[in-house]
């Protein structure tokens, strides 16, 4: 059998497969890229060819323009392709629309690279699937025992209660534009919230794209206040309403147009009180698109690989945990992935 490090190993450009001559989520422009999902730090423009799920390809085209790559190779979940004798397939990762684990098989060796993943409820994408493998490469964004995210629906309920209690205030929900925003909206709908939801202009395109792929988001309206000669609502029209915007817009002047806004931030980082305080968040919503500690460790136990490789995030603790479990593990120390945008 081929040795694992000969099939995949870290390089400055990203995780590289020598026999297949491709990179997974490369951080620099390369000839052949396999992309796990559309987040900017994993999916960059300028590669010679991109192999990804049709959803991820559509997301990349919408973000970077139609010429984001030389050749597009869409591959559906559970289909497979062979390249120079290396077989590649995708399994759902449950992270965002189109997110996939990359399953690489060659000469009897199977390596699964999760990209980013979670195990919690997400109406916008199929749930994570367990794929048996020899080597499991797990992300570790929330790889510390302090990260135990509460039930997602309880967090959404917190938002709904606050909206009801503060009919005079606008609720500004900061959420990452790809994935988190649509997930929050879809969950609000599932929990019976059917009023229009207002979205920041930067989210329009991606929300439209999600709708094209059949995700139910209900009635969305632009969060614009009427100015002279332009369309939009009056300031007071936003009282008691939910507005979803990118986290960066929350502390912007933009947010001050709304009636005494309650700043809410939907992120796994909100688990740590002082993080919430630092960002001036009044209503933290602990909702994450990454696996928390419990999900990480449960998933690794379920997959039960021969060896665990840990990438971006808090590798040290997860490697220590594996050691205590008697599982061989090492950090990959890949650079170029960010976790602050969760």
């Amino acid at each position: 059998m081929i040795s694992p490090a000969d099939l995949l190993h870290p390089t400055p450009a990203g995780l590289y497969c020598p026999p297949g001559d491709f990179y997974i989520d490369p951080v620099r422009a390369v000839d052949r890229a396999v992309i796990t999902h559309g987040h900017a730090d994993h999916a960059r423009a300028g590669h010679g060819s991109v192999l990804a799920t049709p959803e991820t390809i559509a997301i990349m085209a919408s973000r970077y323009g139609e010429d984001f790559t030389g050749t597009r190779q869409p591959l559906k979940y559970n289909d497979d392709v062979s390249h120079r004798g290396v077989q590649i397939s995708f399994a759902p990762a449950g992270h965002v629309l189109g997110s996939a684990q990359v399953v690489v098989q060659h000469q009897g060796l199977t390596i699964v690279c999760t990209g980013d993943y979670k195990r919690r409820e997400d109406p916008t994408c199929p749930p994570f699937e367990i794929v048996p493998c020899h080597i499991f490469i797990s992300e570790a964004t929330f790889g510390l025992p302090v990260f135990q995210h509460p039930h997602t629906r309880d967090e959404i309920a917190k938002l709904l209660v606050s909206v009801e209690r503060n009919p005079d205030r606008a609720h500004l929900v900061g959420a990452y534009s790809l994935g988190k925003a649509q997930r929050i909206i879809a969950l609000l709908r599932l929990m019976g919230y059917d009023a229009p939801i207002y979205i920041h202009g930067a989210m329009q395109k991606l929300c439209d794209l999600y709708k094209e792929f059949g995700v139910e988001l209900g009635e969305l309206k632009p969060a614009t206040i009427r100015e002279k000669g332009r369309a939009g609502g009056d300031k007071q029209d936003f009282a008691g309403k939910i507005i979803v915007c990118p986290p960066s817009a929350m502390n912007d002047k933009w947010s001050q147009r709304f009636p005494s806004p309650v700043s809410c931030f939907a992120s796994g980082w909100m688990r740590v009180r002082q993080r919430a305080k630092q960002r001036g968040v009044e209503l933290p919503l602990i909702i994450s698109d990454h696996a928390d500690w419990e999900e990480l460790t449960t998933t690794i136990r379920e997959v039960n690989p021969e060896e665990l490789w840990v990438t971006h995030g808090r590798e040290e603790a997860l490697v220590r945990w594996a050691e205590l479990e008697g599982l061989r593990a090492k950090p990959l120390s890949l650079v170029g992935y960010e976790d602050e945008n969760e």
Binding site: F147, A276, Q278, G280, L283, W321
Partner: protein
């Protein structure tokens, strides 16, 4: 516990003062006695639980999880209570919620050996927020950005009473403050402060800023020296004698020499200082000497002889049953002088009134005070009544310029609370000659003085220039040609045997970042030694 936890969570995340006041008054209205009183005591930190210590918490958690995983978590979160509350393995099915009073009562009667078991049971049943609140409650480490004055303000607002009345009563009250709440809710009369020789909230001064000068008419003010001691209140009331710090802590035990000299029936506001026993009159010794007498419960004969204390009296608040605080400063001062003439107390003298002609004269006095123990000047309005707190435009303080020194950053540690994700606690040093040429010797630590922007830049410097790690501490590059030079401002220098350098700074803070200055041009220890008297 959940209602209390929710209150704390909201207090942490609500930035506005009015928002915090509303959260507190809502809580007082909703929650019954004695629960709300214990909450008040927890927030004002007037609650002490003797049977439980933070060290027990660490032991309990190490029994439950891998020490390395816990340490990594703690390093990330930066707050012990929060870390434990998040990693504690809760028990499914354990859903009994203890109330504050139950926790306080149970622990008050528990032996030390029993406490961990009790706490464990509660931690198992609570959710992370509840656990955090419980730990903060029982370890007394509640720093949530709510000053005890704000709580008193909320109590005042809740009962629609002036805050002074609450402050005055405060030191005679005990948690859970049921009589206070009864009065605030109008069901009983105002509690009588049964305590003899009570503390009276002190009046404080505003710092003089450039723009204030034109508004301050010097003819309407009297100037006094601002002494480098600690502000105290000496109260003697029908034989009961007490010495209070300016926050109302009773420090009588450490000052029998002062107590013996309180041969009057009065409440005197003044500065506590130490004098030189070898010379006549009260020759004030440096603050360092006073420091030897502070923070102890009792005092030895030897120390009483070598470091005798006295009070330089500023004001008279109460005398023989009469409250003088509504009188003007000039009137109170006359009464004070008369009291001194009548009783001639040993170990007390009158603060000298300095005559000043104009700002130029005042500037000169501030720059060149006659004694090193003077740290500036006070300006008191002749007609000002004695008002607790910091009333606008009545008293001013004009402190001398701080001392400055250029130092080199040596170690950095992750901050706590709001700054837990930044390296914000800095140890810095100056040069001295060592066996192998010049070396840095640490002379102090600073946690403040920088802007958020500067903090980010220092944090980045620390991360990019780490050469070694010891737990949460990072050592950074420091040599003659690389290293970060900081300009540090400080209020004074003491001799210290606890510090390798032999000196200890008072109130050091970072005044400027000297990215421009090569590390070898930072100051040397000789410069600091030269400042020691």
């Amino acid at each position: 516990m959940n209602r209390f936890a929710a209150l704390l969570d909201q207090l942490v995340l609500t930035p506005s003062r009015n928002g915090k006041l509303r959260l507190l008054t809502d809580y007082f209205a909703e929650v019954p006695d004695p629960e709300r009183g214990w909450a008040v005591a927890a927030i004002t930190r007037d609650l002490e639980i003797k049977s439980f210590k933070p060290a027990m918490l660490r032991e309990m958690i190490y029994e439950r999880m891998d020490a390395q995983l816990f340490d990594l978590s703690y390093d990330y979160v930066g707050d012990l209570a929060e870390t434990v509350s998040l990693v504690w393995p809760g028990q499914h099915g354990a859903n009994y919620q203890p109330g504050l009073s139950e926790v306080v009562d149970t622990l008050a009667t528990a032996k030390r050996a029993e406490a961990p078991k009790l706490v464990e049971g509660w931690l198992n049943a609570l959710d992370p927020s509840g656990r955090w609140a419980l730990i903060k409650l029982i370890t007394g480490g509640l720093r949530i950005g709510v000053a005890s004055r704000l709580v008193k303000q909320a109590l005042a607002a809740f009962g629609d009473k002036p805050i002074q009345e609450i402050e005055e009563l405060w030191h005679g009250l005990e948690p859970p403050y049921t009589e206070l709440f009864a009065w605030l809710e109008g069901t009983t009369d105002k509690p009588v402060n049964a305590m003899k020789a009570p503390f009276r909230p002190v009046m404080l001064a505003h710092p003089v800023e450039e723009k204030d000068k034109e508004r301050i008419d010097l003819a309407e003010h009297i100037a006094e020296w601002k002494w480098d001691g600690i502000r105290v209140q000496a109260v003697s009331d029908s034989g009961i004698k007490r010495l209070y710090s300016r926050t109302g802590d009773d420090i009588s035990g450490a000052f029998p020499d002062i107590l013996a000299a309180m041969t009057f029936d009065a409440a005197i506001d003044g500065e506590l200082l130490v004098f030189d026993p070898e010379t006549d009159g009260f020759q004030v010794r440096p603050f360092n000497d006073l420091q030897q007498r502070l923070n102890r419960k009792t005092v030895t004969k030897k120390l009483l002889a070598s470091h005798p204390a006295f009070i330089r009296a500023y004001d008279l608040l109460w005398v023989e049953g009469k409250d003088l605080r509504a009188l003007t400063y000039v009137e109170r001062r006359q009464r004070l002088e008369r009291l001194f003439a009548d009783t001639q107390p040993e170990r007390l003298d009158l603060s000298e009134q300095v005559s000043v002609s104009d700002w130029a004269h005042l500037t000169k006095l501030r720059a060149e005070p006659p004694l090193a123990a003077i740290e500036g000047l006070m300006l008191k309005k002749r007609v000002a009544p004695y008002v607790p707190g910091r009333p606008k435009g009545e008293w001013w303080k004009w402190k001398r310029e701080p001392f400055l020194v250029d130092v080199v950053l040596m170690y950095a540690q992750r901050g706590h609370g709001k700054r837990s994700s930044f390296y914000s606690d800095y140890t810095f040093g100056v040069w001295r000659s060592g066996e192998d040429g010049d070396e840095l010797v640490p002379v102090g630590k600073a946690y403040s003085g920088f802007t958020d922007e500067e903090l980010k830049r220092i944090d980045k410097f620390v991360r990019d220039n780490t050469v070694d790690r010891f737990g949460p501490v990072r050592a950074v590059t420091m040599g003659p040609d690389d290293g970060l030079v900081l300009e540090v401002a400080f209020e004074g220098l003491n001799r210290s045997t606890r510090h390798k350098s032999g000196v200890a700074m008072r109130f050091p803070r970072i005044s400027r970042l000297r990215w421009d200055k090569p590390a070898k041009e930072a100051d040397r220890i000789e410069m600091l030694e030269g400042m020691l008297a």
